[in-house]
């Protein structure tokens, strides 16, 4: 592949993904710089190059040169911007992948309502098509193709974890159960790092009296295709889950405590596949809240630790599930304090959007986590933080270690299962 053609491929993809929505964004940006004040990478480093609108520069230039109204007129008069070169694309690659979690704080603050986060997702399509993707994400994609898991978790490993959990909680966990109410998918991070979540699901669903299963061919919820920005890969990964769920004829698929997984299957899914699913998609937090309101999983003795809640971006700000974790925590905890800036404006952990899978971005991610540390330090005598996302949990554990902080990190499903009312 010659230098020029990589740039051509990327630019062609940029233009293909610049629909009227993206075009309206490019035409409305007034360079006001407020997005910088929302971005944890700019705030933690002070480097202006992390300004969100700046990260979109190559895509905007390509649009202004080749697709914008008056672009032909401007080209004739020599006023159109110059062609995007491969050097520029390479220079921008770390900005697009290392310093963006697609957390949408910038979208929130923009006076013109520009969805910069969503547009970074579209921009990554150009990079993925041209093969300009960070190494860490590239190897994750390769694992996924081989094992369906970005961490290479095989069905053997999963079954071992399931067996462990069945023993620990004393409840059977059925694999490939035909016609179950719910099919659960998990992130590899949860399966390997926090397998207690399997036991928690078992306990909760037994109490609620709903049937559930895990598919032996489609247990992975994360979608590295979404993180890399490759629609074909995203579709391929999703296909496995959809096929398995439809083969098992389950009524619902549960998206786990994971960031982008919900968006990938719930919102992007049908559009990637070109059709509706034969099942409904529900987020585990949504489901738990619904079951609790229906009285099926009543709360028992409350957890007395001083707790706060981290709002994973893709679940709360970009997922719309702000109330549910809070009402669940209110029932299950006696000392739940919100951190400053909680809710829709909360800071990302710094590792979302593929950043945590990218070793090159390690330093930047840790710097961004510094803002989270400030928020945590703002809650006096804090003992634990509830983090309803597997990726965020890993980032928290690494980050707290880096900042020498002693704090317990708790998953939401496990907490709800632990504080369930006794029989």
């Amino acid at each position: 592949m010659s230098d020029q053609s990589r740039a051509d491929i990327a630019v062609a993809k940029f233009l293909e993904h610049t629909d009227s929505e993206a075009a309206s964004f490019f035409e409305a940006c007034v360079h006001c710089g407020e997005c910088a004040d929302a971005c944890q990478f700019y705030l933690s480093t002070g480097d202006p190059k992390y300004t969100p609108t700046y990260k979109l520069q190559p895509m905007i230039r390509a649009y202004n040169r080749d697709k914008a109204p008056f672009s032909s007129l401007k080209k004739m008069l020599g006023l159109a911007p110059s062609k995007v070169t491969e050097e520029e694309l390479l220079e921008w690659e770390p900005l697009v992948y290392d310093s963006c979690n697609m957390c949408a704080r910038c979208t929130l603050v923009c006076p013109m309502g520009i969805d910069i986060a969503g547009t970074i997702r579209k921009m990554r399509e150009g990079y993925a098509a041209a093969g300009m993707v960070p190494e860490g994400l590239q190897s994750a994609a390769e694992y996924v193709k081989k094992t369906s898991s970005p961490m290479g978790v095989t069905i053997k490993a999963l079954k071992a974890q399931i067996a462990h959990q069945e023993k620990a909680c004393g409840i059977p966990i059925e694999v490939d159960k035909q016609g179950a109410d719910y099919m659960a998918i998990f992130s590899s991070m949860e399966i390997m790092g926090y397998p207690e979540v399997l036991g928690a699901y078992a306990k909760l669903f037994k109490k609620a009296g709903v049937s559930w299963t895990i598919s032996s061919v489609a247990y992975e919820a994360t979608n590295v295709g979404v993180q890399i920005g490759s629609a074909p890969l995203a579709k391929e990964i999703l296909q496995r889950v959809v096929d398995a769920a439809e083969a098992l004829e389950v009524k619902h698929v549960i998206s786990p405590e994971c960031g982008h997984a919900y968006g990938a299957i719930r919102w992007a899914g049908p559009n990637l596949m070109g059709r509706q699913f034969k099942f409904e998609v529900v987020h585990i937090i949504e489901l738990l809240d619904q079951l609790r309101r229906e009285g099926k999983i009543p709360a028992g003795k409350k957890d007395g630790r001083r707790m706060t809640l981290h709002d994973p971006c893709q679940i709360i700000r970009r997922g719309g599930l702000m109330k549910e974790p809070r009402s669940l925590l209110d029932d299950s905890c006696s000392d739940f304090i919100e951190m400053k800036g909680a809710g829709i404006t909360n800071f990302c952990c710094g590792g979302g959007g593929g950043v945590s899978a990218n070793p090159r971005a390690e330093e930047l991610k840790t710097a961004a986590f510094g803002l989270k540390v400030e928020q945590l330090n703002g809650v006096e005598n804090l003992e634990a933080v509830v983090v309803p996302c597997g990726n965020c949990r890993t980032v928290f554990e690494d980050g707290l270690d880096a900042y020498d902080m002693d704090l317990e990190v708790v998953g939401l499903s496990e907490l709800i299962a632990q504080t369930l009312a006794e029989e």
Binding site: H31, C32, A36, A38, T51, P69, L108, V109, G118, W267
Partner: protein
């Protein structure tokens, strides 16, 4: 033909035509690009989201208000001041009712005109000073930003000079700057005046469909 007759006559007609046709061409061009229909099961209404998005982004949310206060104050001061002037200053109302609408409406008293103008000027100066003082702004600003700002400033300044309406030359200079501003408008970032409702609306619709408030 005298200077004033030219700028209020043929040049004005050219400028107004370029402005209207150019702005329409650009807006329609953006909309015509189209977007794929979203077939995922909706949680909310995208039409309602379009409206909500437009309204919500007028107000900075929560902790962002404190961080960006100077931009908000300068921005609103300038824009509200400018609209106040454009729509309620007596000479402007006279021009509009004469040339465009055929009817007029109540105007600001002179002291109201002055205060509105002062707020508009202070806002614009603060905004432009911020543009070259803030390292983020220095990185992301281009010549279009500066040209748009200066054309607007000069249009307002010549308007200020022409107050009292004692000098035909000053009035004509103001009209000339307005004509230039109108011609430049559809091709630069000044178009944000019309595109903002599309961008806010699109985000509002996309997220509103998902039952979210972004």
């Amino acid at each position: 033909m005298s200077f004033i007759e030219f700028v209020e006559g043929p040049l004005y007609y050219v400028a107004a035509t370029v402005f209207v046709l150019g702005a329409l061409w650009r807006l329609i061009g953006i909309i015509r690009i189209g977007r794929k229909k979203d077939i995922s099961p909706p949680k909310g209404s995208d039409a309602l989201g379009f409206v909500k998005g437009n309204l919500r982004h007028f107000f900075p949310r929560g902790i962002f208000a404190r961080r960006t206060w100077l931009h908000i104050v300068g921005g609103y001061g300038f824009h509200l001041g400018l609209f106040g002037l454009l729509l309620f200053a007596a000479p402007h109302v006279a021009f509009i009712s004469d040339r465009i609408t055929g009817f007029s409406w109540p105007t600001l008293p002179r002291w109201g005109f002055i205060i509105t103008a002062e707020v508009a000027f202070l806002g614009l100066i603060v905004l432009w000073v911020r543009r070259f003082s803030d390292p983020v702004m220095r990185l992301i600003s281009d010549w279009d930003d500066h040209l748009g700002t200066w054309l607007t400033f000069l249009a307002m300044l010549t308007g200020c000079f022409a107050m009292g309406e004692s000098s035909v030359f000053l009035r004509a200079t103001h009209m000339l700057l307005i004509d230039i501003w109108l011609i430049y408008f559809p091709f630069g970032r000044l178009m944000h005046a019309f595109t903002f409702f599309l961008s806010r609306g699109n985000t509002g619709a996309t997220y509103g469909r998902k039952g979210m408030n972004l």
